[in-house]
Symmetry: C2
Subunit: 173 residues, 2 copies
DNA sequence: GATATTTGATATGGTCCATAACAATTATCA
DNA sequence: TGATAATTGTTATGGACCATATCAAATATC
């Protein structure tokens, strides 16, 4: 059956729903009204976050890095000589959950745990050479394929304003 | 905000980069450097989202509504006569996962499933009287305690700009 | 009427998040 | 000093959320 794409979409909302499907040629489901939902901060924030993470994963497919893993590598690079507790806590990751994450990165030879000589309980985290190389490539991918997309979408100044507002929310809300 | 990139190679934990502020003798507040992380869209977006959800839950503690549940009630109210598949899909919720969610709302007498007379496979969703009352109170709480906080933090125009940008990202990224 | 599709539902597995508990090590202090 | 407390990494475990396969009932399609 060929369906003619009628651009006409009557937004009829019959409370009785007496309209049957016997009338052929009406297979397109009318889009629901979001209403106040589209103005809800949490709703739009969550949707945006999902889209951004999804895009991030696509951009990083060749390196197989998740946003969380990328953040760990960035933080370890920026703060060499820190232990697991310090890195995890500043990222909001609980220590127990950080173990498997590090096991993964270490098994891929991206970072390493080094037993501290000062405090033999703690493991100092460092990037391996491969980890540094991978992070460098990851940064380029993120900058050119991911963050650049924001500029295309919002423009430079809006992009900076957005980041600033989100940071403010993250820190002061 | 450009940070001077000092080629720090010091692996000692006391090695701090020059920040213009010098304090000695103290056990160094141990605040890690976020570095490029604070400019990463995904990072700041996720942190903001967590904070907003956390605040939402606090504001709704008296009504025991999660953001997802609130969005369902809002959508059902705005679109009466729709079935589970339609409501769930527009919220990005998979049908199997929507079942338990509805079981919860229905057990609390907030919404009800009504077997459709047209298509006896589908369940039409409606708000109960209690559901409408709870949603009305929820809206007020959200407006006065939750969204209002954004105005205090960003101001009215910035708040609207933020919502608009997030919507754009959610729809076009 | 035979077959395919849709709807709600169940079962199941994966990922993330949170808490308790443990051994090894270090800090505290009586 | 030695007994006790605290910290670090770790394991185990449970909950919340997300995704897929599958099913029975109802409907659509041919």
């Amino acid at each position: 059956m060929t369906v003619s794409k009628t651009a006409e979409k009557s937004s009829e909302k019959s409370g009785e729903a007496a309209k049957g499907r016997k009338d052929a040629g009406e297979p397109l489901a009318e889009t629901l009204q979001l209403g106040e939902l589209s103005e809800q901060l949490g709703y739009v924030l969550k949707r945006a976050q999902l889209k951004v993470f999804e895009n991030f994963l696509r951009c990083m497919a060749s390196l197989q890095l998740t946003p969380a893993q990328f953040s760990v590598l960035l933080l370890v690079e920026k703060n060499p000589g820190r232990n697991q507790t310090e890195i995890a806590s500043t990222l909001g990751i609980l220590r127990p959950n950080f173990v498997a994450m590090l096991d993964n990165l270490e098994s891929r030879d991206l970072c390493a745990r080094i037993r501290s000589t000062n405090d033999r309980r703690s493991h100092i985290l460092v990037l391996t050479d491969k980890g540094k190389a991978v992070l460098a490539r990851a940064k380029k991918l993120v900058a050119t394929k991911h963050e650049a997309r924001l500029n295309d979408l919002l423009g430079q100044s809006n992009r900076e304003a957005l980041i600033a507002m989100l940071s403010k929310i993250a820190n002061e809300f």
